[in-house]
């Protein structure tokens, strides 16, 4: 009876451990976006502020928008203050949440590419988005790159326009980071 109890206790601990197994970000990460406008105008923003959390079922990739930079200070200020309104509550980050089992995780030493759906939260709104990804597994560290097209009209973001140059609402967001299962 005692040994059965011990076995059940051990099994419960193992199962609980599996359910709570966490994904932690490791190494460098970068998130960026690319947009365009008339006459070949292009804009690229980049930040290293990226964090990964999980609740056991889904992975959430949160990109801090406060440090998003496009290479021109004035444009950064316009982007953060006038359009993304980063200073307002709930607008500090953009978050992509993806069910863990929607991703094909490669075995050690292998790589996969795929496409999946997740939810993207930005500027106080959440929408379903499709994204593509590539993952390589080196000793249990998964190096992930992904990109997703989004339309910022759908997130209630005003179309940026400055001195006759208007940015197109269709942009592509990118993220590159590594995670490890603990």
């Amino acid at each position: 009876m005692t040994s059965l109890k011990a076995l059940l206790t051990t099994a419960a601990l193992v199962l609980a451990g599996t359910a709570l197994a966490g994904w932690t970000k490791t190494g460098e990460s970068v998130a960026s976006f690319k947009g365009s406008g008339p006459a070949g105008f292009k804009i690229e923003g980049k930040t290293r502020s990226l964090d990964v959390t999980d609740d056991g079922k889904s992975l959430s990739v949160a990109v801090g928008l406060k440090d998003l930079e496009t290479g021109i200070d004035l444009r950064d200020r316009h982007m953060r203050d006038n359009y993304l309104k980063v200073g307002e509550k709930g607008n500090e980050s953009a978050v992509l949440t993806v069910p863990v089992d929607a991703i094909t995780w490669p075995e050690d030493g292998k790589a996969t590419k795929g496409a999946a759906k997740g939810t993207f939260a930005l500027h106080g709104k959440t929408k379903e988005v499709s994204f593509s990804y590539s993952i390589s597994n080196a000793g249990g560290t998964y190096a992930i790159s992904g990109e997703a097209p989004i339309n910022f009209n759908e997130f209630g973001i005003e179309v940026p326009s400055y001195m006759g140059i208007t940015v197109k609402p269709n942009i592509t967001v990118f993220a590159t980071f590594s995670v490890k299962k603990s």
Binding site: P38, A39, G40, F41, K42, I72, M163, G164, I165
Partner: protein
């Protein structure tokens, strides 16, 4: 602007391939990114002084500006020569997809190819002349990625560098100061590719018609990586007479260009052109022109520029002509640039004339309204 990853010139310049009049966006970027500031600006907008004539707001369809450049050429051991380089007004009207652009100004000495009146030369000394460098009408398509134009325009070839008498601009007759021609052009500015091709119909401010060149010129430039652009250019143009031998002449220029900003304060520009001239009863001439230029922005608005250049015009010169430039350009105030160029050139001449070496200082004050 290479440093700021602006491949496309069309958002900042009225000419879709760059140079000349700024758009309102270009005017604001000039103030924000190029002008010297004693302290880093904290205000949320470009300075109000970036407007036309420092403070005038114009209706959206009208874009007015001006270009005034004067200075002095100071040859070492020679006499200082004052220069009146440009005094032009620019006007552009943009209605929906249609763009109308013209410039008008006054020139003194050596403005012949761009002068309209009075006619001078020969026994008539050239004084002040009315100059019209550009006048064209165009229409944009595909979200302004494509522009079709007709009129007198810059020739699309090579780098659109400011130093209009550098060898690469001079021997290809493609400078933005005087070498505009009448023609029809189509330009494209995409996210990774830009280019323009122009059918050359001649310079109608030059006569008689036998001197006018017909042919084509064009360039294409591709974004290889962020802040790294590679381009090719090609030009073939023929006239029924050249101004020296009065013989028909066909000239070729075909080249490659590169623009690269390896680190934020530094921009590198390079151009190498193969040149050929064909004339009946004379041997074909072969030559080249090359430029390597580095622009280091010591602080915003203050540029140190070094350049090496070379050329050979295939006229029996003993070796190529070579030059070195060391320049400082200071965008000291809104719409104001102060510039000093030190130019050392060894100029080869056809045998038996010996090569000459000259060092010249060029001081300039430039107002761009």
């Amino acid at each position: 602007m290479v440093k700021h990853d602006y491949q496309s010139c069309a958002v900042c310049h009225v000419d879709p391939s760059g140079a000349g009049q700024l758009t309102p966006y270009g005017r604001a970027q000039s103030d924000v990114l190029l002008r010297w500031h004693l302290k880093k600006p904290t205000e949320a907008e470009a300075s109000p002084t970036s407007r036309f004539l420092w403070f005038i707001d114009l209706p959206e369809v009208v874009n007015l500006s001006g270009n005034f450049r004067a200075g002095a050429l100071i040859p070492v051991g020679g006499q200082v020569r004052p220069l009146f380089m440009a005094a032009d007004l620019y006007g552009t009207v943009k209605v929906d997809r249609f763009v109308f652009h013209a410039t008008s100004g006054v020139g003194l000495r050596n403005v012949g190819p761009a002068a309209i009146l009075p006619v001078c030369g020969g026994d008539t000394p050239c004084g002040a002349q009315w100059v019209a460098r550009e006048f064209w009408a165009g229409a944009t398509f595909a979200d302004e990625a494509v522009m079709v134009r007709a009129g007198r325009m810059f020739i699309p070839f090579g780098l659109r560098n400011n130093e209009h008498f550098m060898y690469v601009r001079d021997v290809t007759n493609t400078d933005t100061n005087l070498d505009q021609q009448v023609g029809i052009s189509a330009s494209y500015n995409g996210e990774r590719l830009r280019g323009e091709v122009m059918g050359l119909l001649g310079n109608y401010q030059l006569g008689p018609d036998a001197y006018r060149e017909r042919g084509y010129a064009g360039f294409a430039e591709y974004t290889v990586a962020s802040k790294f652009y590679l381009g090719v250019s090609s030009l073939i143009a023929g006239a029924r007479a050249d101004q020296v031998f009065q013989l028909p002449v066909t000239r070729h220029a075909h080249g490659v260009t590169a623009r690269w900003s390896p680190t934020e304060p530094l921009a590198l520009l390079a151009e190498v052109d193969f040149l050929a001239w064909q004339q009946p009863t004379r041997l074909d001439r072969l030559g080249f022109a090359a430029l390597l230029q580095g622009d280091y922005e010591v602080m915003q608005g203050l540029h140190l520029v070094a350049a090496l250049e070379g050329k050979h015009e295939g006229q029996g010169e003993r070796g190529p002509s070579v030059g070195g430039w060391l320049s400082a350009a200071w965008y000291v105030l809104p719409h104001v640039e102060v510039r000093l160029d030190g130019i050392l050139r060894r100029t080869s001449r056809p045998a038996p004339d010996p090569a000459t070496v000259a060092f010249t200082l060029l001081a300039q004050l430039h107002f761009f309204l």
